[in-house]
Symmetry: C2
């Protein structure tokens, strides 16, 4: 008997019919002689509706009460899902994050799972029940207040539960067939990956591949839980995210991200500790900095450029302007018309000339590179927003990302 | 500094505007140097909407999951109310039934409060906060499952909290001005009672006066918590329900109830234990029997009549038919066209001839009496459904229920 954790997002349980279909799928897994634990999101637009309702009442921020409010959403979907399973003759029980022992930090709206005390979940499994756990939520053990995990939180719930229970696999059901070598909406011949390593998936997720959030991949990596990203519409195999893949592809995929903007602080005196003086105030202001590039110093002065989410741009600009004033720098320049394209692959660790080939491919397509950032298994370039799709297509065509061989998938 | 528990029902928090008005009222009480604990119901139609949603998913009964589902409703209203108070500069915190330590029996949908461990509520009061507690819900300490209290549950939450906290008063806010000497929709000169004793209010509630549920009155009586039933639309005094009233009115009020039907089992052999043989199977079938009348035995045979809620009539008829078969009785007769009219007053304990006067008044109005039932402070008659309003008016006019004197109210 295997222990399988399944995660269904809000779209999968968007209405009564879909929810009953999800119940059928869970029941089939259970009848295949598996123990099944399910993490479920709030139905369809529920969370958005609750946020709207809060906006009718208040214009201020009330993080604790907002979490109390939003966690009503999963409560509804999980109870209904347990009912639907019961109707199929599958004994089921629903637990809130708190009841499932999901302990988190105290940061309302962006809490992180620190531990899972899954005794109740285990007891229910031992009783032969399917356990439905509310995604996206937990409890801060010190204040005993309810918390939410922020965007992609239900994925994190699922993978963390799988880790805590020592599950054989964590299945993430989604509206696409798996992880692709590039966004299929941009690259028509993008292909579904059979498998991808945790490290590669982490880089892909950070580089803009939205199908799986980086934090849930990190959980899977840390506790060696294979993650199967698959379609909620059919039974076909999706993409396995796992420890090691059969073959180290040089380039596993091309990712892109158009959600960021570039900020440049010009004319900084190039003294030791200058980067800290720039980025500490940004961190305190709550700005999430992604890429950072510092230009070579010219006559003792340098420019520092970094990218931030567009929705944090106002905050980033404000912070940067006071940094400029404090440090007597030259000024702040902001560019919203940028996007990031990345190639990701574990094979590039040992392969020379991959970066050079990437720059050449972009250059051959007359695409200027604004910033470059690299990790051992990823190279990212900032390009003009209106050229991003050309860049993705050119790189996908130039590298022809390697699919892991079909017959060696799990 | 007084400690005041306030209860607001679903209509009072029906939308964002009303909810903000409720917050203003709570804030005013808090600023009058009171500690305030609030029990709140789900917003407007939320509970009904959730029940509808469950009907889309399942046609079976899932008591545990239904409670999980329905408790989402108060979670939403209480979080929003805490936000609205915070916006008014009043520190507030919301607690679920479980967080507020409301321990109940395990009967999902109809749980009863057995204890309140209000440590978290007390701590929050000590921190100067207004505490918003979810009405209608609690937790079974053995299974640690969420429960709901059934109809009128939020009133029970409020009064039980008031008892546990040793509150000075429990204020029940409602859409009427208080408890009236009769239903003002039936009797145009019905008057608002200034005060009424717990015993009288219990009889009035059981006899059909819907403004306060019997179980919450019982809590108030047991723990001597004065209950102030008052309007959520204005600041005027409502009705005080309390230990003793200034004056024992002979008749405090006239109550009526059109929600019941009468069942008669005919031709029962009048042997010892026959009543038990009739009512045990009904209890097992979950039928709530109200009035019971056994006729005088004729030639060793008797009839037993009883009233049940109309919505339980099918169940009651089925049960009764098997009782008839088991006991070899004559048959079952069912009458849905009945209603109950009652007069209630502590003064009738010591006053002779009240029942006779009641029967005379009904007789003078040509109203037939089908069944009679009495308690020390109440007399109820079953009459034809189409004469119930005439009966209420005639009795209200004949007895002119005594209002407690205005100047002696609290």
């Amino acid at each position: 008997m295997a222990l399988i954790v399944q995660k269904f997002g809000g779209t999968s349980v968007g209405d009564a019919e879909r929810l009953k279909n999800v119940a059928l799928r869970i029941a089939a897994t259970y009848r295949d002689d598996n123990a099944v634990v399910v993490a479920v999101s709030a139905m369809g637009r529920t969370t958005d509706d609750l946020i709207e309702l809060a906006k009718d009442v208040t214009t201020s921020s009330h993080p604790r009460e907002m979490d109390m409010l939003l966690t009503a959403g999963e409560r509804i979907s999980m109870a209904l899902l347990a009912m639907a399973l019961d109707d199929l003759g599958v004994p089921a029980v629903s637990f809130t994050g708190s009841q499932a022992g999901i302990l988190t930090t105290a940061v309302h709206g962006e809490a992180e799972i620190v531990d899972i005390r899954a005794d109740r979940v285990k007891d229910a499994i031992d009783e032969g029940r399917v356990v439905i756990v509310a995604g996206f939520q937990g409890v801060d053990p010190l204040s005993r207040d309810v918390t939410t995990l922020g965007r992609g939180g239900s994925d994190a719930t699922a993978v963390a539960l799988a880790a805590a229970l020592g599950a054989d696999v964590c299945e993430i059901y989604t509206d696409v067939d798996g992880v692709f070598t590039a966004d299929p909406r941009v690259v028509s011949d993008a292909q579904k990956l059979v498998e991808i390593s945790f490290e590669e998936m982490l880089e892909m997720a950070s580089a803009g591949t939205g199908v799986l959030m980086a934090r849930s991949v990190e959980f899977g990596r840390r506790y060696s839980i294979p993650i199967h990203v698959r379609s909620s519409f059919h039974d076909g195999e999706g993409t396995w995210v796992k420890e090691k893949t059969m073959e180290e592809a040089i380039v596993r995929g091309v990712a892109h991200d158009s959600s960021e903007a570039k900020v440049t602080i010009q004319g900084l005196a190039d003294t030791p500790g200058i980067a800290a003086k720039v980025f500490e105030p940004l961190a305190i202001a709550g700005v999430t900095v992604d890429l950072i590039v510092q230009n070579v110093s010219t006559e003792g002065y340098t420019d520092i450029s970094f990218t931030v989410p567009k929705h944090q741009l106002a905050k980033a600009r404000e912070s940067s302007e006071s940094i400029v004033a404090d440090l007597g720098a030259g000024g702040v320049d902001v560019d919203e018309n940028i996007a990031k394209v990345s190639i990701v692959g574990a094979g590039m660790k040992t392969e020379l000339g991959i970066a050079a080939k990437m720059f050449r491919i972009l250059s051959d397509s007359d695409i200027n590179i604004g910033m470059i950032s690299t990790s051992p298994i990823r190279i990212s370039c900032i390009v003009a927003l209106d050229r991003i799709e050309d860049a993705v297509r050119a790189l996908h065509n130039g590298f022809k990302p390697a699919l892991a061989p079909q017959e060696e998938s799990l």
